[in-house]
Subunit: 371 residues, 4 copies
């Protein structure tokens, strides 16, 4: 057993063998080794240089998953799809294998007979064991599991079990998905009482990111948006999960909030999420904005965003893990509204990206200073 | 002769019978009469309510043009193309005819034998006569003429003659085009000495507007833009003017500046401007942004903007005329960098729209207060 | 009462006050008067010059509708939306009013107590009265009413009542919509026995038109389409009708058939139809085709089609009315498979547009000859 | 020395170490070994089963190039860019090395002192040596070198030197590029007299392929195209070559011909080709078609084609080599107009893809029969 080591930080990924987690672990290792530049990582840009964030090389990964394919194998699969560079899985095989050692079975699985309380206790034990074994100073729990359907009233969705375990084990928590997580009504009191910092929810990686800069543009120019319609095509696990209308509904609520917030009014228009297995981990989002200009002239803006979901999410997951770890170290607690920059459905008012970025820089200032 | 009347403000349009000017005059009349909502006019939004801006109903229009088709006829042509509502030319015929009365011949026309000094003097006389005849408290000169080619070294382009006349007649000046205007080296001293406020240059109406919000998004998210390419299709007078490579070069410099400023580095990629007469006053701008995400993953954003050029420009022209008039009333002088929100190639650092909007609001604060 | 006049042909529109019908009647009058060129009318191209088709000036319009807004008023509404040129409603007001005189109440309306048989008989009487009153040689019935939901098993949808009436009154019949019409199982025998020509179903006006040329291209080049996804945005009556999932299902079946037929296999991908009232009669269709090239290389084709639904449909309606009238005159009977060029879900094998065009030319040859 | 072996066929690639050639050789080996399905190869579809085409496994590759990077290395570079599957270069390393053995230095290189006649003779000797050494029954020469600028009047561009050598060595010839090749005026007599079959020019792989199906669609539907504008973004060697306006001009002539042919009239609109090194071998083509529908209604179709240039071209190169070999075996001579399906600027009238495909099937019939 290692003694607590201020220089190492745990990152516990719920959904640790998914595409986002695999990309995050692979990428962290590649960046720490200087094999690739830190494209897409906001915390590696100059404004964050003096924040006292844990170094990428100091992050130790573990997590929960119900899947059993080991991380090195998952990385090869992602490389075959073009999500990771072909040479990367071999180059970081050691780090992937090491992280895989720290992955514990998730749950509840079908037939699982453990009660809610028991599941939470087991997950919390996993977290404590990880911390003890690895000797990390603290562990940030990040939910990157597939979006789950809106739970039946009163039921405990898996995401909330993990969130409860994080609280119990004293871990800062990030919900990168639209799932319930810490937002479960029965967790509100415990979250407040925990003294832990947390953030969420639903990472803003593509279409909504665009909307959070285009919405303000229309508002600032006094152009009247009449309808904002969108279609998302994606394969991979997320495509299949979101083909479930209930899961899609959770996701779309976040997208809509951005428009309503930034335009100052609810606008017409639907959002579709199609599962297109042929696209693999790649997603295409088409947006069609019908707006009126001066004297009611009809105009249209269309955007097409073609990105790799995991590559968009993974650097933000690393950013958030580092920021939460440092926030915890500095004694910050409660919802970190200044992290709205990262989320579709943030803990704070205001969905315009520029303002969110300003607030993020403010947080960076607060995090800086002597360790 | 009317005595100077603090409640009326002159707007002198260089290119007064062009599409932008016709739309501005028609629209101002329609809005003043409550026939249409002020979509697209930033100065009609709440933050500008207490700035002391001249009322739309108080604006009196005149201008220079070498074209002779009267404004009521030009409005009908624009309505036939769908740029103005079909009923509008009839509804505001009186106001259009009144403005047309104040349009004076522009120049120099081919065969014009007047020397530079004579042209400037004549134009300044036109401005003074307009002020005297109409009794306006002040006149803002706005250049909305077709883009002119980069002038030969030392020569006086027409746009600079008009700008010189504005200075001489004591008029605040706005250059809404990429033409030289007040930026002529021989006008620098006079501009400084004039004590007048001025602003420019090149109104930001479409593709560049988009770039000024998308560029910052890529920068804030640490995504590496590798190439930003664009094609603009437009008919109308501007399409024909910009088919001249020299004129297009002037326009493209502004577009490129926005990217270099917001991304922090020069990026690969060309911008084409095609004259497509079939499109009339409508323009389509396609942008293709190739960028790298985490671990070098290749991603693409494409945007398609379909707008009516005159309808995009006209409300900004009205905004600027009102803001400059008020700035003059408040004694502001020199280049108004806070108006960068409106321009591709502004008088101040920083091309990110969100920051420019913040600075515009700051100006609004300065303009407010007791008259 | 006029005696049967071989030089005049009736066109009976089911949905006679809808956008498509109004555009067809307005346009026919404009073309007959030489006010506009016959853009979009296939039967006005050279290969159809010697087919013996009825002249546009010889068409006499009537129809059924449950709506009561008269045609001249409807035309003005469409002109205000930019669907018709602003000057057109006035120019053809006489013809619109004349057609409106021949519009009879449709049904069944809510509370209608007539039995199926009675409704059919009433509609057939309307048709006979129209023929007698106007003295036309024959009347082609064309269904251009809003798409109706798939009927409950055994029930008679309105479209089939009109189709039955057409048979009973001896009228050639065209179903331009995805509604049931003549495809009702209980009409099969009567259709066969009638000796009348008929055609359908579901006019091919936009996205499916494109698919019928792009599908064959992929097949001929041996490119493997992996997913073909689409989203349609449209307002107007059709947008609202198709917001009903049942109606959309009918429409999408036709779209899918084109792909399966031309690609030789069923492909992945959904089609969405969104009601976007802000778009009025304009529709936008985005298609995303993910395909594999040589060695499995992933490639993508996207298309964006922006058209005016009524302007796309109306000339085809006129084409079909003329072709069916002439086919009837020449004694052709049964389903005219050679008209597959016009339909999403045609009466004949083969969905590739080029082949359908060849077959249409063959029909043109058959229709030619001495009257 | 091997005796002439009716079962082996030579394919001599001018530009043998370029991306297209490398992809063709790699792909042929992969397909012959059953490692991948023959996506994109028209000659592997059922209508060509009984044509007597040489088997893929029987093709023997060689060629000319001024570049010296060996094929196995080039294949690795392409795999790194995602043009070839990552595992392919290793899997077909033997075949690539074998082909590389048959690559001879191209020319003229700067400083080359050989006269035109000497260059032709040397290239012809290379072809004869290849045939003798490998014992192939015949060798088809295919030009896949970078597009060269339009030559000065009277000069011999390199492509024509290679074409002359092909004639002299008795080899069927295909010009897959817009370069001059066999179209040089001084080669016309020799080509006619040679008794050899040949085909060209400029492979139809992307934007023009689309235009050859969309153009006929507009024509058949009597829709009036008012402007057809396009922008191509591409990196790789071809992007750099076409950044030369003279080379681009050659390419664009072919694209324009397709529109003029299929629409029956010349239409407005430019085509841009931008070199965007960041895109590597991938190309994006955006097309904007402004057209009028019924009553002059303005409509727009836009297409975005994202493909890998080499993967689009390579299977067609293999198709053409096989078809020309068989045509030679069957004694066909002169320009094979039936191969217009493959070219932007074919040897025969008619640019509509559907008709070209029909003619290709006719050729397939002629090629069939006993060997």
């Amino acid at each position: 057993m290692t003694s607590a080591d201020e220089t190492r930080t745990g990152v516990w990924l719920v959904g640790a063998r998914g595409s986002v987690a695999t990309t995050a672990v692979s990428g962290c290792a590649a960046l720490a080794a200087g094999l690739l530049p830190p494209t897409g990582m906001v915390t590696e840009t100059p404004p964050f240089a003096d924040c006292g964030l844990p170094a990428l090389a100091s992050l130790v990964f573990g997590g929960h998953d119900t899947a059993t394919t080991p991380l090195p194998k998952r990385a090869e699969e992602l490389a075959a799809q073009g999500v990771l560079p072909p040479w990367l899985p071999t180059a970081v095989q050691g780090e992937l294998a090491a992280a895989d050692e720290h992955i514990r079975p998730g749950g509840p699985v079908p037939g699982d007979r453990r009660a809610t309380e028991e599941l939470i206790a087991d997950f919390a034990t996993d977290l404590r064991t990880f911390a003890r074994t690895t000797g990390v100073a603290r562990t940030v729990v990040v939910n990157v599991a597939s979006t789950e359907p809106d739970p039946a009233h009163g039921a405990w969705p898996a995401s909330s079990l993990y969130a409860a375990a994080a609280l119990r084990a004293g871990c800062p928590y990030v919900n990168f998905t639209p799932s319930t997580g810490l937002s479960h009504p029965q967790l509100a009191g415990a979250a407040r009482a925990s003294g832990l910092p947390y953030a969420g929810r639903d990472g803003k990686t593509g279409q909504t990111l665009l909307r959070s800069v285009l919405g303000p543009m229309f508002a600032q120019r006094a152009l009247a948006v009449r309808a904002w319609s969108g279609t998302n095509l994606l394969g991979g696990g997320d495509g299949a999960a979101l083909a479930d209308p209930a899961a899609a509904a959770a996701k779309n609520a976040g997208k809509e909030r951005v428009l309503t917030d930034t335009l100052g009014t609810r606008v017409e228009g639907e959002v579709h999420i199609d599962d297109v297995p042929a696209l693999g981990d790649w997603k295409t989002a088409w947006d069609h904005v019908a707006f009126d200009g001066f004297l009611g002239t009809r105009m249209v803006l269309q955007t097409i965003w073609q990105g790799c979901d995991s590559a968009l999410a993974a650097p933000l997951v690393l950013d958030l893990a580092r920021l939460l770890a440092r926030a915890h170290e500095r004694g910050l607690s409660g919802p970190l509204g200044e992290l709205g920059f990262y989320f579709k459905d943030p803990d704070a008012e205001g969905s315009a990206l520029a303002e969110q970025y300003t607030r993020l820089l403010t947080l960076a200032g607060r995090l800086g200073g002597t360790r």
